[in-house]
Amino acid sequence: MSHLRPVPDDPSPEEGGSLPARLAELLKRAARGDEKAFAEWYDATAARAFGLAVRVLRDRAQAEEVTQESYLDCWRHAARFDPAKGSAMSWLLTIVHRKAVDRVRASEASFRRDAAYGLRDAGVAHDETAESATASIEAHRVRAALADLTRKQREAVELAFLGGYTHTEVATMLDLPVGTAKTRIRDGLIRLRDALGVGEVGTA
């Protein structure tokens, strides 16, 4: 049960014994072939990785495949993770998200395009069922920050990130001129970032 640590009081991705620092350290050990460290890293991150894959793909079997592929990639490339350029969690979720999005776009390109016109609310509704597992201070902060976005910004960010839609699809779904959605996604993310106190990263 050693992997069930309490949620840190300060969830911002700073240094110093925090969850992010511990995840980075585990990944460093994994890069040297330490399978136990990697198992611990998996235990600390898998719920988020899998949850994100399920959210984008909406198919548990495919989400399992994507999650597994992502972790194997992480193991293979652990030595190339650079904590100065971002957190280990972000590194992992970027990989999972990209794989999930690539998969929906490859397998459902035309289907999803059609669906985009009919399911305007897809991806916008909050699913509360998954939240109990990670009820935490951080989750509250994220929800509060999300609530602080304009409804239009929130919809655009959620459709793009959690829905896996391109900005042009998001524009169609939200009846926006093409070109407006990308601005809204960026503005929404920046506002969230600032509200959540995500520091500067990757400035090298």
Partner: protein
């Protein structure tokens, strides 16, 4: 390519994988030159990672077993060589060194790879052909976009007369049906269409074989796997080209 002045505005969509293939390639190119956007993308990815936590869901135990038994059979790659200018440099750069190509060639390749690969988050996904990148970023590159019938996405042809090459990039184009492939064609003035190669995966930019600088047209058709000698009736896109 002709990046517009507001290419910075793509940072958010890029950070959450919401760009089409062409825009993604353009923005990656831009990232190589723009430290500000690199920092912004990194910070927006951190932000998106926080958003994902409300979706957290415990995976089945079988997944854990699959991962942990899988890593036992995979050798972790060594670290990058030191003194990288930016986030994980491309794996291919190491490979270039290992193959000990003649020094000049290696240096030239490294410049191209560094420029494009230095900013990529997933270095291992970057084994895309260098020719494609050269064409996409050629100063004289001209693009033509054609929509496919039935709303099945669009294909953009990028041609550099100076390089004599053309690249096709599909956006939102579905995978070909089972047993079929996309095939590219080039037509020289007054000649029949000649195969310019297959595009087996519409998610990958495909370089057309043949001299694109003199061609009068390019096309894409759906053909049986392995390709055809002549285009079938199922031509999905035609690109008229200005003769040079």
């Amino acid at each position: 390519m002709n990046p517009t002045s507001d290419i910075h505005a793509l940072s958010g969509a890029f950070a959450v994988d919401a760009l089409g293939d062409l825009e993604r390639a353009q923005f990656e190119h831009h990232l190589a030159e723009c430290a500000e956007c690199r920092a912004e993308v990194a910070s927006l990815r951190e932000t998106a990672a926080l958003l994902a936590q409300s979706e957290a869901e415990a995976p089945p135990e079988s997944l854990r077993q699959g991962v942990l038994s899988g890593i036992g059979q995979i050798r972790p790659l060594p670290p990058e060589p030191p003194a990288q200018p930016a986030q994980p440099a491309p794996a291919v750069r190491t490979d270039v060194r290992r193959r000990r190509l003649p020094q000049l060639l290696a240096a030239a390749a490294a410049v191209v790879l560094l420029a494009v690969g230095a900013v990529l988050w997933h270095p291992w996904q970057h084994d895309r052909a260098n020719v494609a990148d050269q064409v996409l970023h050629a100063p004289d590159a001209v693009t033509i976009t054609e929509k496919l019938p039935g709303g099945a996405g669009e294909i953009t042809l990028v041609r550099s007369v100076a390089l004599g090459k053309a690249v096709m990039i599909a956006d939102d184009v579905p995978q070909p049906p089972a047993g079929k492939t996309y095939q590219m064609w080039l037509q020289q003035p007054g000649q029949p269409m000649v195969s310019a190669g297959l595009m087996p995966d519409p998610k990958e930019p495909a370089v057309l074989s043949g001299d694109a600088s003199t061609a009068s047209a390019a096309a894409v058709s759906v053909e049986p796997s392995g390709g055809s000698a002549h285009p079938s009736a199922d031509v999905v896109a035609v690109f008229p080209l200005k003769p040079t």
